[in-house]
Amino acid sequence: MKFLLVEDNHDLANAITSRMRLDGHVIDHADKISDASAFVATGEYDLILLDIMLPDGDGRAFLKQHRASDLDTPVIILTARSQVSDRIGSLDLGADDYVTKPFDHEELAARCRAVLRRKSGNAQTTIVLGDVVFDPVAGHLMVGHEAVTLRNRELRLLELFMNAPGQVFSKQKLADRLFSYDVDVSENAIEVYVGRLRKHLEGSDLRITTLRGLGYRLDRDG
């Protein structure tokens, strides 16, 4: 997925960018409206993340202009304001969703996924490994010729594994990605989700290997 991030705070932009890249996305960064317009004019993006208070104007002005130019790239607003009326104003202007700073990165990812799913994006987002075809945005998993329904956490867990086959993930690392920080999660919970994924992947070329004391790894047979 190719994202455009319009954010004037470079530290925040760096943090978001590095985090998004970790998820396997490509990110361009603009720190003012004029740059953003230039990026949009030359490149095609699947999603725009837009800050409201920018040095050369209001992000909503860019949004209005963007919508007027007939581009239907979905836009998610990153706002620091918390007044509800402000949020509603942004949605009326054509934003597809918004997150309030500071945001949970998983929440942002979830909202991106939801917006992309709604827009039934034209971009191909499928990952193919062996006989397994996985579309993390639409949430489709095909094992052989069989469609499998995944719950949200199973989906995110599989996305992690399929983005980095062969990499070892510790239980804690997985827990931090799957659960928000406001609940304490036992490591058993991860075992439950890994167990479910294994069941879904039964009979395919993929399997999840347990490395005692280290964590889990996605391996491909043959």
Partner: protein, 456 residues
């Protein structure tokens, strides 16, 4: 709010002055009427006395060198009164008593055309007397006849009593009329002030436009200074709104930076104690940003509660929109949000406040509901519009149900979850502002059930 120090009342003072003035005037009127009446009545008696004494003097003549006074019948008959007043007379010739009552003394000059009036005491009775004289000229003699005529005043005082009573009635009537007028005048004057007060009170907290209504000249300076005060207030309010937005931006953006870095770092760090530190950091940031958000929400609700911006909304639609927006977060926890409604539940309310309240309730349900469970949101119109949120979590501790809607109060089982304890307070305040209330209970299976009801 500070109440002003009250000293005295304009209405009371004005009313008292006007009524007091009316009372003094009424008393003066009574005495004036009465003394005029006394004067007129006395004049009447005096005139009859003069007529009577004149006819007596007319009857005086010198016959055979002697003075003869043949008192005509009419002289006494004209003095008849309904009170049977008694009449006394005394006749003198050149100062020598001739006939009548010795008690009466001649007052006045020896010879004069004037009639002299006076009061005398005859046998213990007060009488009005008139002294008159006439010079008789005989063949070779000139003599002075003097007559004193007196009459008791029984009829006169009866008349005076009557007049006094009427004058008193007149005074009381005047007073009553004047008092009523004073009350009306006071009310009319104070009404101008009251009208201004009402139009100030009726205004919502956001309505800081200057007053344009016409006011009496005397009140113009007051309205003028009120308007300039409001202009200053408006300016400082919009400044502080900008300030809050700016402050939120300045605080939230770095928080977002720290949070994003911490999260990203968490993905790379392997050492468990470092990871634990990172997690605590993210938790603390979430807690403070959530608290800041709810404090702002709460301030906004307190601000708007006095002045609801009511519009016609469909509660089912409002809840569906909200749930659609919250679904991605719910999905992250594999929670399902289900909305059931009566199709359309029309209600005239403040959409922003209601959305805020329901969002807090669903937020709570998502915090306490276990993974892969269902959260039921029901919107019904009967018996009155209400929104019910049920989760499958542990429910409220039964001994805390009554205190949970207090500010900053959190349940004992909330130790492991993030929250400021304002969520239920916000929902309760919004319900109150719409004439409703909030009810907390546990379902039979143990989950929490919160009902936000609105006035029908």
């Amino acid at each position: 709010m500070d109440n002003p120090t009250v000293s005295g009342s304009l209405r009371y003072r004005l009313g008292l002055t006007l009524i007091g003035g009316a009372a003094v005037l009424a008393v003066l009127l009574f005495f004036a009427v009465r003394s005029y009446a006394v004067q007129v009545a006395q004049q009447g008696q005096d005139n009859i006395l003069v007529a009577s004494v004149t006819s007596m003097l007319d009857a005086a003549a010198i016959r055979d060198n002697a003075v003869e006074v043949d008192i005509p019948y009419a002289a006494f008959s004209m003095l008849t009164t309904p009170a049977d007043d008694r009449v006394f007379y005394a006749i003198f010739q050149d100062g020598t008593f001739l006939s009548g009552y010795r008690d009466l003394g001649y007052l006045g000059p020896d010879a004069g055309l004037e009639n002299i009036f006076g009061f005398a005491n005859v046998r213990g009775v007060l009488v009005r007397q008139v002294s008159a004289s006439r010079t008789l000229i005989g063949a070779n003699k000139r003599t002075e006849v003097q007559i004193v005529l007196a009459q008791t005043q029984d009829a006169l005082s009866a008349t005076l009593d009557q007049i006094s009573r009427n004058a008193a009635l007149l005074g009381v009537g005047f007073f009553a009329l004047a008092a009523a007028l004073s009350v009306w005048a006071t009310a009319a004057t104070m009404g101008q002030l009251d009208r201004l007060t009402t139009s100030v009170t009726r205004r919502g907290p956001q309505d800081l436009r200057p007053f344009k209504n016409s006011v009496p000249q005397e009140m113009a300076p007051l309205v003028q200074s009120l308007n300039s005060l409001m202009a200053r207030l408006d300016q400082s309010l919009s400044q502080s709104e900008d300030f809050i937005a700016e402050a939120a931006h300045r605080v939230r953006t770095p928080l977002a930076t720290v949070r994003s870095y911490a999260e990203a770092t968490l993905q790379r760090v392997d050492k468990e104690e470092n990871r634990e530190a990172m997690r605590s950091m993210v938790k603390a940031i979430d807690e403070s940003s959530r608290a800041a958000g709810q404090l702002l929400d709460h301030a906004m609700i307190t601000f708007r509660a006095d002045h609801l911006e009511r519009e016609d909304i469909n509660l089912v639609e409002l809840v569906r929109d909200l749930v659609l927006r919250m679904t991605p977060i719910a999905e992250m926890k594999d929670l399902s949000l289900s909305v059931q409604g009566d199709g359309s539940v029309p209600y005239a309310g403040d959409a922003i406040l209601l959305q805020n309240a329901v969002r807090n309730l669903v937020d709570n349900a998502m915090k306490y509901g276990p993974a892969e469970s269902l959260i039921d949101i029901t919107v019904r119109a009967e018996p009155h519009p209400h929104i019910m949120v049920i989760d499958r979590g542990p429910g409220f501790p039964s001994h805390e149900i009554s205190t949970l809607t207090l500010r900053f109060k959190r349940g004992q089982n909330a130790e492991n979850t993030i929250g400021s304890g304002l969520g239920l307070t916000i929902a309760k305040d919004v319900a109150f502002a719409h004439g409703g209330g909030i009810k907390l209970e546990n379902t039979l299976k143990g989950g929490a059930c919160v009902t936000l009801s609105l006035s029908s």
